[in-house]
Symmetry: D2
Subunit: 215 residues, 4 copies
Amino acid sequence: MVSVAPVLVTGFQPFGGETLNPSADVAHALAGARVGGVPVVTAVLPCVFGRSLEQLRGALDTHRPQLVLALGQAGGRDGFSIERVAINVDDARIADNAGIGPIDTPVIHGAPAAYFSTLPIKAMVGALRRAGWPAAVSQSAGTFVCNHVFYGLMHSLRRRRVRAGFMHLPLLPEQAARRGGPCLALSDQVAGVALALEVALTTRGDSAESGGALD
Amino acid sequence: MVSVAPVLVTGFQPFGGETLNPSADVAHALAGARVGGVPVVTAVLPCVFGRSLEQLRGALDTHRPQLVLALGQAGGRDGFSIERVAINVDDARIADNAGIGPIDTPVIHGAPAAYFSTLPIKAMVGALRRAGWPAAVSQSAGTFVCNHVFYGLMHSLRRRRVRAGFMHLPLLPEQAARRGGPCLALSDQVAGVALALEVALTTRGDSAESGGALD
Amino acid sequence: MVSVAPVLVTGFQPFGGETLNPSADVAHALAGARVGGVPVVTAVLPCVFGRSLEQLRGALDTHRPQLVLALGQAGGRDGFSIERVAINVDDARIADNAGIGPIDTPVIHGAPAAYFSTLPIKAMVGALRRAGWPAAVSQSAGTFVCNHVFYGLMHSLRRRRVRAGFMHLPLLPEQAARRGGPCLALSDQVAGVALALEVALTTRGDSAESGGALD
Amino acid sequence: MVSVAPVLVTGFQPFGGETLNPSADVAHALAGARVGGVPVVTAVLPCVFGRSLEQLRGALDTHRPQLVLALGQAGGRDGFSIERVAINVDDARIADNAGIGPIDTPVIHGAPAAYFSTLPIKAMVGALRRAGWPAAVSQSAGTFVCNHVFYGLMHSLRRRRVRAGFMHLPLLPEQAARRGGPCLALSDQVAGVALALEVALTTRGDSAESGGALD
C-alpha cells in the first residue's frame, strides 16, 4: 500500500477576548476530508509566541505533509487574504494568550529577514474570485502570532520541497455581530479554503510563475 | 373568510454596473413566504427616480399591507443597516438606471424635511445581533434612489396606521469578489430580513419606545 | 451710527477624554475678526445636552447675528464636513460632559423631524476645494451633542430670516498624534472656516439654489 | 578642511495623474538645509521602475551620504508612515510613469527576500507623536516603485555602514481637495521629516534596539 502525503491545515485558538476563531473552525471542518484526492490533516495551535511554533513543528514531523496552509483570523479584512511574505519580527501590540508580548525581536535569531510564500497565491486568489468570494493578496501578515507561525513554518521547510503559505480569514458573522466589521459565513470559509487548497495542489510553478495581474 | 393584511417587502433592480442586487434577491426569496404567520408580498422597483415611487405606490394600493420594509443595496456597509430617517432631498452623484441624476431637489415639493422610520429599529438591530449577524442603526440613507423611495414611502403612509421603514443590505459575496468590500451570503440576508420582519410585526410602540442603547 | 449684525461662530469644549477641540480653537481664533467686512462674535458651548442649547439661545439673543455657523469636532472625517440636515433625535453612545446620555428622545418634543441647513452648502464646499482643502457635504451630523445644537439652532431660527448651519472639523494634528486618524492644521482650519463664512455671506439663494453637482 | 558626510533625502516625481507629490516638495524644501548640523542633499527620482534606482545609485555615489531617507507618497495614510521592511518584489497594479507595470518579478534577481530598515523607526515615530503629528510604523511599503526604491537602496548599502530607510507621506491638502482622503500641510511634512532625520542621526543602535512599544 502506498500512502499519499497529506495536506496540513492549521488554525489558531481564539484570542483577544473572542470565544471563536474562524481558522480553528475551518480546520475542524476540514479534518479528515480529502481535497483533490489528498487527505487533510489539521492542527489547532495556541495563540502563543513560541509554543505555537513548537506544536507546528511537531505536526510537520508527525504528518510529513506535501503542502501546508496555515490559517489565522484577521478582523477588519473583508475576504480571503492570502499572504505573500513572512518577516522575521515579533512585535506584539497586545499580549498573546500566555500574556507575552515580545517587541521588535526576531522570530528566529540569525535567520533571513523574510520568506515568501511558496503557494501559487495569485492563482488561488483568482480561483476564489471566480467562484464568487472576495479574495486578495496581502503584503503583510502583521507582526503578531500569525506572522510568527508563518515565518517559522517557512523557515522549517526552507530545505524541503514542501509548499507552504498562510491565509488570513475574515471574522465569522457571530463575531461581527458583537464587534462590527466585515465577515464571511463559516460554510463559505470552509468551501473557499478547500478550493484554495485544490488550486495549490494542482498549480505548477511558484507564486511568481503562476501569478499574473489581479485588479 | 378573513384575509390578513400582508407584509410588503420591496427590493431594487441592479444598478451602477452591477448585474445583481441583494435587495431584489431577498425580495424574491421571501415572495409567498409567511413571517410570523403573515403572508409576504413583494415588489422589485426600478432604480429610477420617480418611477420607483410610482410603482411602490401601486404596490401599496394593490396589497394594502400592514407593514412595509423597503430594501436596498449599500456597498461598503458590513451588516444589516436599518435606516432611522428619510430626508426630502434627491441629490445623485451617479445617474440612475434611466440616466437621470437630480441635484438638490426635493423628493416631494412642500413636504416635510424628513420622516422617521416607524419600525422598531433598535429592537430589530438587537435581535439580528443576538442571532449572530452584524447589524446597526444608520442615520443616513443617502440622497440617491434608496432615500427617494424611503421618503416617498413614509410620505404616502403619513396618515395611515401602517408601519414602514428601510433597510440597507451589504453586497453579496459574488459582488464583493469583483469589486471588493464586505459582504453577506444570500441565505444569511434572507434569514436576517425574515427575523427583522418578525420583530417588526411583534414589537409594540414606535422606534423610540421600543429602542434602547446599543453599543 | 449704523451697526452691522455680526456673524456668530460657535465651538464646543473638549469631550470624550480630549483636552482640545478644534471647534473651540477655531472660534477663539476668529473672535473679533471681520469676514467680508462683517464682525465675528463667538461662543464656546459646553458639550452637554440641554445646557449647550441654552447657551446658544443666549448668544442668539445677545448678538442678534445675521448668520450663524456652529462648529464641532468629527474624529475620522478627513476634511471640512458641511452638514445638510439636523434631525430631531438625541441618541448618545457615550455620556456627554455632564455624564448624561439620552437615548432616542427628541431634541424638542413636538417639533419637526428635521431641518435643513440654510447655508449654501455646495457653494461652500466648492470654494474650499478650489482653495486647496478637502471638503464635503455630509448627510448626517450624528445624534450626539453636535446634532442637538444644530437642530436646536435651526428650530430657534425657523421664523427668522437668519441663515444658519453646522460644519464638522477634522482633528488637530496633536489629537491625531495620540489616537490616530486624519487631521488638519489649526491654521488651515481657521482659514477654511473664514473662507466658508465669506461664501455663506455673499451667496444668494438657499442651499438648493446655490448648489450644484460635486463629485 | 574636513567635510561632513551629508544626509541624502529623496522624493518622487508626481504619478498616477497627480501634478504634485509631497515627497518631491519635502525634498525641495530641505535641499541645502542642515539637520542636527549635518547638510542635507536631495534627489527627486522618476516614478519609474529601474530608472529610479539607477538615479538613486548615482546619488549615493556622488554624495557618499552618512544616512539616507527615501520618501514617497501614500494616499489614504493619515500620518507619517515609517516603513519597517522592503521586499524583493515588483508587482504593479497601475503602470509607472514610463508605462511599465511589472508583475511578480524580483527587484533584484537572486537577492534576499527582504531587508529591514536600519533607521530607528520606533524612536522616530515616538518623537513625531510627541511633537504633535500622527505617525506610525508600517509593515508594508507595497509592491510599486516606492518599495522598489526602498529595496534597491537597502541592497546597495548592504555592506556599507550607512543607515537608510523609507518614509511614506500623506497627501498634501491640495491633493485631498480633489480626490478626498487624509492630508497633512506641507509645512508640517517638512518639519516632521526634519525632526525624524534628527532622531535618526542621534539615536544609537538599530531599529530593534532603539525601539519599544507604541500603541
